[in-house]
Amino acid sequence: MPGEQVSSRPGRHAATDLDGLRVDIPNWSSPSGPEPSTRERRSGGGPSALRLIWIYPDLLSTYGDRGNLLMLTRRATLRGLRVESVGINSDQAVPRHGDVYLLGGGEDLPQILAAKRLRTDGGLAAAAANGAVIFAVCAGYQLVGEVFGGAQGEPVDGLGLLDIRSGRGDTRGVGEVVADVDPALGVDRLTGFENHQGVTSRGPGTKPLASVLRGVGNGDGTEGAYSGRILGTYLHGPALVRNPSLADLLLTWAAGSLPPLAPDYETWTNRLRSERLAAASA
């Protein structure tokens, strides 16, 4: 597996094509038989595909969030995994049996709409209960929590999948962020760009993703939060492009342990990381 060239990218162009995001979801969202656990399906590099689902790109994709989907797809495919990635619009049912769900950033009203629809739909909550990985950025991060701030700062119910509470802060956090990730996760130093006015506090069951060396993050010296297989962050960049080891953590949660990528595939991402970290400490 290491160093193996993967020349074909099944499903990539069709699924992540900018027009193809409007594709109907395949039947696997309603399986006919008992559903094996996510981990079972993935083990041994079996024939079933890793299913990446981008939630409501029509509402939550303001900040290059497609990049997180593309980078996860790329890093999985380079390891020889078959990947099916699809965008689910806000007028479609959220499949319950995906492996990794992505939520991106967005403006105030779309965020509120997304939260309402996801609550009514129930698919994301069911997926979480099924052990799916959920990666949520900025507006997405806030809305998977218990409550977040609306357009006038009023409290709006989130999905309650992560024990965090968010509200409107006094100042806007804008700029490069550097943060050291919880050692338990084995993820390299975080680098990214934040642009938000939210502050987020964690409940007892939720750990911070990282401690901030530079930037604002949650507002209390930490950035992001995770619990089980749900992980959120304020970081753009996009986050998984700037932090390939974070992308690999999510893939490992979904697909089991992964071989490292051949060094050739890491040249540019490593160079970007070094440059960004150096720029942030300048």
Partner: protein, 422 residues
């Protein structure tokens, strides 16, 4: 225009001198500093300078400077002087400079930053406003585009005497213009859909088909248009079809030209007189310029945001369909990306651009954020070479044509090296 009050006249004299100093000392083209100085002296200066003139404001995310130039040319066909801020200085000071620099001009065509439109409507009492498009721009600078549209909507409702010329194919524009008393709808097209999947009125998913866009839930839908861009042609309100025949390349410029003809006709300009003037425009504030440099013909294109990149790819003919032997003949393209304040300091937007259309042609990458671009291109499996600057790019390519697509400050840097032209 009449006689300006004394304070205003002094202000324009001081401002004009500041502008001239700026140009003489090579600091800039003087179009902002003159206005800044003038306004310090007489804060109401813009309103005073606007009195008695017929004013057109032009705004939107992409195409403001080009459309301002085109509208100026079209209205110029009426034979009278037209004041304009030709170099893109689109905030209050730039408007002041433009008006005070052409004190006798009965017409003024002014590019306005989309965030400042409501204030500029109050200050200038325009006869007409051109609304081009709204899409995501620099993330860490721009206000949310829905909020911009909403403020426009409120401003139009408060200015019923204003005639709005609006792109019917852009849902956010159509919603914003919906509150105006007098709207001329133009089917100018929309290629970038990613910021308008959500109904601006009710938030439901917008549907799109051959007939246009419409909300799945509420009644908001594409208005029918009096002016239409149809391929290479413009169809006017009378149904007459004319080939545009522009010198400016690309679909977006054809769209801008139709908007220009529509607004000029509100002032009595005849399409058959205005169109030849539009055809004379070959470059705008350095964009689309081709310069000769060391045996290469270098064409400069500005792309500030994902929608702009889509249009730039259209201009350079990047379709991703070139394969095999044909690719050897295609001109190379240099992509230049910075992330200074005016560019937007976050480069996440690179991932909203589909670079697969560059497949088959040689790609070079430069700019302060060339490594971000490298990671982006690698993910789209587009081979590329990094170069330090425009001259290194020229060294790396054969004599012949080189297309350059650059974002804001990268564009200015390259333009400064290869020479400012028109």
């Amino acid at each position: 225009m009449g006689k300006l009050p004394i304070r205003a006249r002094v202000a324009t004299t001081i401002g004009g001198a500041a502008g001239r100093m700026s140009r003489l000392t090579g600091r800039g083209d003087g179009s902002v500093i003159g206005g800044v100085v003038g306004l310090r002296f007489a804060p109401d200066l813009l309103r005073q300078l606007a009195v008695g003139r017929q004013i057109v404001l032009v705004t939107g995310t992409n195409g403001k400077t080009t459309t301002t130039r085109l509208v100026t040319a079209a209205i110029g066909s009426l034979g009278q002087e037209v004041a304009t801020n030709a170099y893109g200085a689109n905030m209050e000071s730039g408007l002041v400079s433009a008006l005070s620099g052409a004190s006798e001009a009965p017409y003024a065509v002014l590019e306005v930053d989309e965030r400042h439109l409501p204030a500029m409507i109050k200050a200038t009492s325009p006869r007409a406003i051109v609304l081009l498009n709204l899409s995501r721009d620099q993330m860490d600078r721009a206000a949310e585009i829905w909020l911009i549209a909403r403020r426009w909507r409120e401003a139009f409702a408060a200015s019923p005497q204003c005639r709005v010329v609006a792109n019917a194919d852009d849902p956010l524009i159509a919603w914003a213009a919906g509150s105006a008393g007098d709207v001329t709808w133009v089917a100018a097209g929309q290629r970038w859909h990613e910021d308008s999947w959500c109904c601006p009125d009710c938030g439901s998913h917008l549907r799109r088909d051959e007939l246009g866009w419409r909300c799945g839930e509420c009644s908001l839908s594409r208005p029918s248009a009096r002016w239409v861009l149809d391929g290479e042609n413009v169809i006017d309100a009378a149904g007459t079809v004319r080939e545009l025949g522009l010198a400016l390349p690309g679909r977006a410029n054809r769209s801008n030209a139709v908007m220009a003809l529509a607004v000029a006709s509100l002032f009595g300009a005849d399409v058959d007189q205005a169109l030849p003037e539009l055809r004379k425009v070959v470059s705008v504030a350095g964009r689309y310029t081709s310069v000769q440099r060391r045996g290469r013909t270098v064409r400069l294109l500005l792309a500030k945001n994902p929608a702009g990149w889509l249009e730039a790819f259209d201009v350079v003919g990047a379709t991703g369909l070139i394969e095999g032997p044909a690719s050897a003949g295609t001109p190379p393209v240099l992509l230049a990306v910075n992330a200074q304040g005016p560019d937007g300091r976050d480069t996440s937007w690179l991932w909203d651009v589909d670079y697969r259309v560059l497949a088959g042609r040689p790609v070079l990458v430069t700019g302060e954020r060339k490594v971000d671009l490298a990671v982006r291109l690698e993910a789209d499996e587009i081979p590329f070479d990094l170069v330090d600057d425009i001259d290194a790019a020229i060294d790396a390519v054969r004599p012949g044509h080189l297309d350059v697509i650059a974002n804001y400050t990268a564009f200015q840097q390259i333009r400064a090296i290869v020479g400012r032209s028109v």
